[in-house]
Amino acid sequence: MDDPFTTEKYTAKSRQAISDKRLQGALADVQARLGPATQTMYSAQPEGAGIRQQAHEIRQRCIENLDILLEALADKVTGNGGQVFFANDAEEAVSCCLAVAKKHGVKTVVKGKSMVTEEVGLNQALEAEGVDVAETDLGEYIIQLAGEKPSHIIAPAIHKTREQVGQLFAEKLGIDYTADPAALTQAARAVLREKFLAADMGITGCNLACAQTGHITTVSNEGNIRMTSTLPRVHVAFMGMERVVATLKDHDILFRLLSSGAAAQKLGGYVSYVGGPGPEDYPDGPVAFHLIIIDNGRSRMLADPAFREMLCCIRCSACLNVCPVYGKIGGHAYGSPYSGPVGAVVTPLLAGLNRAQDLCFGETLCGACKQACPVDIDLPRMLRELRFRLAEGDETWSATPVSKPEKFAMDTFAWFTSHPAAYRAALFSASRMQALVYAKEGPIRQLPGPLAGWTRSRTLRKISSRPFRSQWKSRKQPS
């Protein structure tokens, strides 16, 4: 498979998104709807706006005690008759799930939306084994039918218009073309109901887990995740190892914030706490429950104090809904299920710093994400930290310096800034040189070399023939 993270791809996909008027409208719409609303939701919490910092501390504490909490969670789940598996990487996670499927003779699977299963590439692996996999979240179902990738963490199909969905359904489900959302939803519902009833196995993610009670929490607004976890014989839940919190009290705060951050809701429509399989004398619930807890690079983040904070993330997507860059380039340019600011930090950490470098360089450091994050994660700080590791090289992350010319330019500039006489001389000679090169009146219309990016769409003011420092010298002192 070719690498989804090249600079060419990032640039090409960004360009493609920017020139897609309908996509631009959809992105602007989702940001306008959810961006400001989440802020209002945070301040409306009984704890007040400070709740974000409080949640940050809670998460930080959980992360610092992750080993203990995971053990407690696993013990409780096992005690309830469930099975817990710790997967070091994507491969282990996938093969564990495949083994469970095999053991239970699974032919068909229904899935609740889960980013972590995207991360490990579960669907492809199941399909390769001849298992029929159906996504049941409407957005995920649409992109599965279209053979595409999610472009938003909680609204995976925002890049598709209803007309496109209408055509897709007509083609794939054999219904008459319609662009009516209600009719399309009904059509998907009819198909998915059958899938639910027939499925041997349900696979979900996990929004949060609680060590004290030993349960995982799933939330959806379509009820599909609850059906996924209760109708089939076997339930397999995938969980990023950072998702656990210590107590029900912590869980309460984070869960409220998750709902606010994700969809500006007080509470998601369907919330389930799952602690194990259904008891024997129970009419409902699966007979087997497997919890697969995934590391896949997370311990590495944990081990680096500069990036540990990223594990506080609850994948709510609030940061996507305010990010100016995401608002233009959409999710696909990020080449990973994690897009937007969270993706810009987490994807390089998971996929390799050099490989996914454009994600962290291709952000403006505006800081809107930090403000929107329900757990107050300092994403801009980590973006800078990633850039630092990439600029100067870093052994722990096997990062190699990205650009010799840029480093040379920065070093040279730094040398001048610490040699004031040389700096002054350079400033004045730059001003004079520029007057020669750009003899024409008015601003510069074409810059050379790597600076040309600026003048593709913008002019640039010239360096003044009288910089401030010379005007200061000759100014009249006030009497």
Binding site: F361, G362, K370, F388, M410, W472
Partner: protein, 243 residues
């Protein structure tokens, strides 16, 4: 109330020094009018922000150490750029986190530096500087100024007292203009898309002038306005407060 400080030491951001001297001259005139003495240490260069944001911390530290040496004895430093103040006040702490000696010196300087409008309104408690400007003005919130320093109210307060000036807010004034330092050169497509949106918001207001407190953003906005031929004037707030 005046003068709180016997003297204000000017830090004129490298970009303002080179490309927008009139903004810094405006700041000087402003202090002259208020009867506040100013000084300008001529050895000042750059705070190190461009290198820092691009990841080049060794280079950035070099500039930052020089900055600290030049300014550490100043009691009160005022700068016409929010992002540079954020750099010195907040990011120096990150830059020197592993170096207790320089960290202590950085902390001292960081405690003495103010962005111009923040200094006028919060420290001097002046919101009317006696300025006049005939025109309709819209204000762009620069990201670091607003989010790292919490400065958004102060420039508006100053503008609201300028005689003849009508302030019209643009939609999403706090949305990034797409400058982002080296980002604007490395990712020109994205940067352009962002500044195009910003300019659209500016044009919607019908304002004849757009004002801000950070030259980086202003050069970006001005560059796009000029290229597109829109007759909107771009001004640093200091130019407008003391023409």
């Amino acid at each position: 109330m005046l003068p709180v400080f016997p003297e204000v030491t000017l830090f004129v951001q490298c970009m303002v020094d080179a490309m927008a001297p009139e903004a810094a001259m405006g700041m000087v005139r402003l202090f002259d009018r208020l009867g506040i003495a100013t000084s300008f240490p001529e050895d000042q260069t750059c705070c190190g922000q461009p290198a820092f944001n691009a990841g080049y911390r060794t280079a950035s530290r070099k500039s930052a150490m020089h900055f600290i040496q030049v300014f550490e004895n100043a009691e009160c430093i005022v700068c016409p750029s929010g992002s540079c103040v954020a750099m010195v006040r907040h990011h120096y702490l990150e830059l020197f986190a592993d170096d207790p000696h320089w960290l202590a010196r950085a902390k001292k300087v960081g405690g003495n530096i103010f962005e111009l409008t923040e200094f006028l309104v919060d420290v001097l408690h002046i919101s009317d500087v006696g300025a006049a400007y005939q025109g309709t003005v819209t204000y762009h919130d620069s990201c670091h100024l607003l989010r790292s320093l919490g400065v958004g109210r102060q420039p508006r307060e100053l503008l609201s007292h300028v005689r003849g000036l009508t302030l019209v807010e643009m939609a999403q004034s706090d949305r990034c203009c797409g400058f982002g330092g080296t980002f604007s050169i490395k990712y020109p497509d994205i940067s352009t898309a962002l500044v195009a949106d910003k300019v659209e918001r500016i044009l919607e207001t019908g304002a004849d002038t757009v004002v801000g407190c950070d030259m980086g953003c202003l050069l970006n906005i001005e560059g796009y306005l000029t290229r597109m031929g829109h007759p909107v004037t771009v001004k640093h707030i200091a130019e407008l407060l003391a023409p």
